[in-house]
């Protein structure tokens, strides 16, 4: 009989808590990598990510990092399997600032092989 009270309460709890989902960055208007933030020339949409590869459930490296993904986006760099195994950050000259920056989790898990990423998109300006 007591269970009759618990069940609707559980539904109410599940409903109220499932309403809000959290992301690292939804749409940040401006992220600048230089003190010079005057209006620049747009180079269009830029993408970058930070990924960790998995083999048979074992991660080849630590965890993907939001900060590294944003820095990679500023250099328009996609991570490779080499980065997962201790490759350093590289890339050419980056953008001065990014508009409308968003960070989304990305990747896949096909049991044998998997990829866990943070993907960053935005508008790059030089």
């Amino acid at each position: 009989m007591r269970g009759l009270w618990v069940t609707p309460l559980l539904f109410v709890f599940a409903f109220t808590t499932s309403c809000t989902s959290y992301r690292w960055a939804k749409e940040i208007k401006m992220v600048a990598f230089s003190d010079d933030v005057h209006k620049g020339k747009s180079i269009g949409e830029i993408e970058g990510d930070d990924c960790i590869y998995m083999v048979l459930g074992y991660r080849l490296g630590g965890r993907p990092q939001v900060g590294r993904a944003i820095r990679n986006a500023s250099k328009q760099k996609k991570s490779s399997i080499g980065d997962s195994m201790g490759g350093g950050e590289s890339g050419g000259e980056g953008v001065r600032y990014i508009n409308n920056l968003s960070v989304k989790p990305d990747g896949f898990n096909a049991v044998v092989f998997g990829k866990d990423c943070f993907a960053v998109t935005g508008l790059g300006f030089k």
């Binding site: 990598f33 747009s42 600032y97």
Partner: protein, 137 residues
């Protein structure tokens, strides 16, 4: 019996102290803003800001969206707490439990410049509307 209770209490205190959240920096940027796309003129460092936004807090941005950007919210909160500063300079983002902490300095736009641009650079500009909708003959 009393000894085992004391041990239990000590264990709980140790777990509590050990479970304290530590701040770990995960991203740094020269400047961040949730209100301006770019800022003309020279930015100067103003007073330091130290703001945090946690999961479960009421979003500062409001709106009906059920998706909350933790970094978005902490930036906006910091800008508002600094008297609607155009940006936060020397921004350092930390994670602490389920919170994001932003430390930096409120930006002060210089007197000669500081004109902020709210449009993204490549956004198409709207044509001026012809009021009345009639051509002049």
């Amino acid at each position: 019996m009393r000894v085992s209770l004391n041990v239990c209490a000590l264990f709980l205190v140790a777990v509590f102290l050990g479970g304290c959240c530590t701040e770990q920096v995960f991203f740094q940027a020269s400047a961040v803003s949730m209100t301006k796309n770019s800022i003309e003129g020279v930015l100067k460092e103003g007073k330091p800001v130290n703001t945090q936004f946690c999961q479960g807090d009421t979003p500062v941005s409001g709106g009906d969206s059920h998706e909350v950007g933790l970094m978005d919210e902490v930036i906006l909160k910091a800008q508002k707490s600094a008297g609607n500063a155009p940006a936060i300079m020397n921004a350092r983002f930390y994670t602490s439990c389920s919170c994001v902490v932003l430390k930096g300095n409120a930006a002060l736009a210089s007197a000669g410049g500081g004109k902020a641009d709210d449009d993204s650079g490549d956004a198409p500009k709207k044509k001026p509307r012809n009021k009345g909708g009639k051509k002049k003959g």
